[in-house]
Amino acid sequence: MAKYLLLKHYRGAPAAVNDVPMEKWTPEEISAHIQYMRDFATRLEQTGEFVDGQALAPEGTFVRYDGEGRPPVTDGPFAETKDLIAGWMVIDVDSYERAVELAGELSAAPGAGGKPIHEWLELRPFLTEPPTVTE
C-alpha cells in the first residue's frame, strides 16, 4: 500500500478546461458538484482507500521566528504567492496507477454547464517508513 496526497489548488495549478468560478454556476450545478465530491469520498471509504480529506480557507498568514524574546513575525497573505492550496485528500492505494485513476475521477467532477471541470490536481506520494527487509 502507498499513501498519496491529492492537492486541490485555488491558485498555482494550470488552468482547468472548464474554468468558471463557482458563483457563476447555477445552484443546481453547485449541488451536483458537491454531491459528486461526497459520493467520491464515500466510495473510497467503502473500498478502504480513504484516509482523510479537509478543505482550507483561502486566506492564510506567513509566520516566522524573529529572535529570542520577540513575538513571531506575521505577514501576508502575499498577492505574489503563486501557490494556494484549497484542500486535500489522502488516499492509501495499492499502486501509483490506482492513485492516478482516482485523481482522474476526482478531476472529472461536474462544473459549469454540468460538464467535467478537468481541473489539475496534484498527486504527491508520501515518504514512507524504511522497510524491515532491505537486502
Binding site: 463557482m22 458563483e23 454556476w25 447555477t26 453547485i30 449541488s31 478543505a55
Partner: protein
C-alpha cells in the same frame, strides 16, 4: 444495553470513589476503566444493580492501580480498608464534578474533554472521534487537564457561568461522527439543572431545547443548510419547543435575566411563529437590545442588525451594520442579505461570493456560493 443509563451513573460513581478517599485523577481513571469494561460485559450479562456493579469494578480498578503504585508511594493504609459507601450525596457530588471539570484554570478544549469524560461518562475514544483528533491526543489532553485541576479542592464552590460556557461549547459543536454532541450537551445540562436551581442554567437548557427542536429542518436531504426563514416548520419538534418555552418562562419569572435566558427568548419567539412572516421581529430586536446590554458582544450586535433589517426594513439594518467592524465573521454575509432585500441584486451577488470566500465552515461556504449563483443566474 442502556448506554445512557451507564453514562448517567458516571458522576455518581466517581463521587463515591472520591468520598472513599481516592484522589480525583486516580478515581476518574478507575471509573473510565470500569465504563470500558461495562461496555464490553453488559451486553452479554446485564447487571441487576448497574450502579453497584460500577462502584465495585471501579473501586477494584482503583485498588489495582494504587497497589501497583504503593510500593513507591506507601499508601497501604488507604488501600486496605474498604469503607462502606457514604451517605447519598449524589446531587452535590455531581455539581462539584461539573465545577471541577470546568475549572477556570483549564483551557476551553480541556474543560470540554474532561467534562465529557468525567461527567458525561464518554470514553476517550468517543470524545476523540467527535472532535476529529487521534485518541492518543485526546487521552493526553484529558490527563493534562486532570493534573491541572488536581490541586483544586473537590468541595470548593465553583462558578456556574464557567460550567455553562463549557456546556454551550459542547452543544454548539453539533454533530460529527457517531456521537451526537448536541444531545449529550442537553443531557448534561438537564442533569445540571436537576442539581442546582439557577435561572441561567434553566435559560441555557431552554435555549438548547429550542434550537434542537429545529434540527431536522436545518439541513436538506443533500446536506445543505436551510436558513430559518425557509425551514419546514411542520418538522419542528413541538414537544421540545413546549418544554423549552415552559422552562424559559419559569426562569424569566424570577427576574434575574442573563444572556442565556435572553438568547432563549429570541429562539422562543422564532419557535412561536407559524410562518416566517409571522415572526415578531420588533420583540426580537428588543431582546437583542437586552443581550447587547448584558454581553456587549459584537456578534450579538451583528445578529441585531439582521433583526433590525426585518423589523424596520433593510435600510435600517444596513445602518445598524455600518456601525460594526466589517472584519467580524459573517459581516459580509449579512451585508449581502440586506442589500438583496434592499433590491441591489448585483451588489448582493458580489458580496455573497466574497462572504463565501470568508466562510468559516464548508456548509456555510456552500450556502453562500449558492446564494451568489442564484442571483447571478437571474435573467
Amino acid at each position: 444495553m442502556d448506554e445512557a443509563l451507564l453514562r448517567s451513573l458516571t458522576p455518581n460513581v466517581l463521587g463515591i470513589l472520591v468520598r472513599r478517599g481516592a484522589d480525583f485523577a486516580a478515581a476518574e481513571d478507575a471509573v473510565q476503566d470500569a465504563l470500558v469494561e461495562a461496555l464490553r460485559a453488559w451486553p452479554a450479562e446485564p447487571p441487576r444493580d448497574p450502579k453497584g456493579w460500577l462502584v465495585t469494578v471501579a473501586w477494584r480498578k482503583f485498588l489495582d492501580a494504587t497497589r501497583s503504585d504503593t510500593a513507591r508511594r506507601r499508601r497501604e493504609d488507604l488501600v486496605d480498608e474498604e469503607p462502606a459507601p457514604g451517605p447519598a450525596q449524589s446531587v452535590d457530588d455531581t455539581l462539584q464534578l461539573y465545577f471541577l471539570c470546568a475549572h477556570p484554570s483549564l483551557t476551553p478544549s480541556s474543560a470540554v474533554a474532561l467534562t465529557l469524560r468525567a461527567v458525561g461518562g464518554l470514553t476517550t475514544r468517543q470524545i476523540a472521534q467527535a472532535y476529529l483528533v487521534p485518541e492518543a491526543t485526546m487521552a493526553q489532553r484529558i490527563s493534562r487537564a486532570k493534573r491541572t485541576v488536581s490541586t483544586a479542592r473537590f468541595d470548593q464552590p465553583g462558578d456556574v457561568a464557567t460550567v455553562l460556557r463549557v456546556l454551550y461549547l459542547v452543544f454548539n459543536e453539533g454533530y460529527s461522527g457517531d456521537l451526537d454532541l448536541a444531545a449529550e450537551a442537553i443531557r448534561l445540562t438537564r442533569q445540571l439543572a436537576a442539581a442546582i436551581d439557577h435561572p441561567e442554567v434553566a435559560g441555557l437548557l431552554a435555549l438548547m431545547l429550542l434550537h434542537h427542536a429545529r434540527r431536522a429542518s436545518r439541513t436538506a436531504p443533500d446536506g445543505s443548510l436551510v436558513p430559518l426563514a425557509e425551514q419546514d416548520r411542520g418538522r419542528w419538534d413541538t414537544a421540545l419547543i413546549a418544554e423549552g418555552v415552559e422552562i424559559l418562562q419559569a426562569a424569566l419569572a424570577r427576574d434575574r435575566l442573563g444572556e442565556f435566558q435572553a438568547q432563549a427568548a429570541i429562539a422562543a419567539l422564532h419557535a412561536d411563529a407559524q410562518t416566517a412572516e409571522e415572526t415578531d421581529w420588533v420583540q426580537i430586536v428588543e431582546w437583542y437590545d437586552e443581550l447587547v446590554r448584558l454581553t456587549d458582544s459584537p456578534v450579538v450586535r451583528l445578529n441585531r442588525a439582521v433583526a433590525v433589517g426585518e423589523a424596520d426594513g433593510p435600510r435600517a439594518g444596513l445602518a445598524a451594520l455600518a456601525e460594526l467592524d466589517d472584519s467580524l465573521p459573517r459581516h459580509t454575509a449579512v451585508a449581502a442579505y440586506l442589500h438583496e432585500r434592499d433590491g441591489d441584486v448585483e451588489k448582493a451577488a458580489l458580496l455573497y461570493a466574497e462572504a463565501a470566500r470568508k466562510a468559516l465552515n464548508l456548509a456555510e461556504r456552500d450556502y453562500l456560493t449558492r446564494q451568489a449563483a442564484r442571483l447571478n443566474a437571474r435573467p
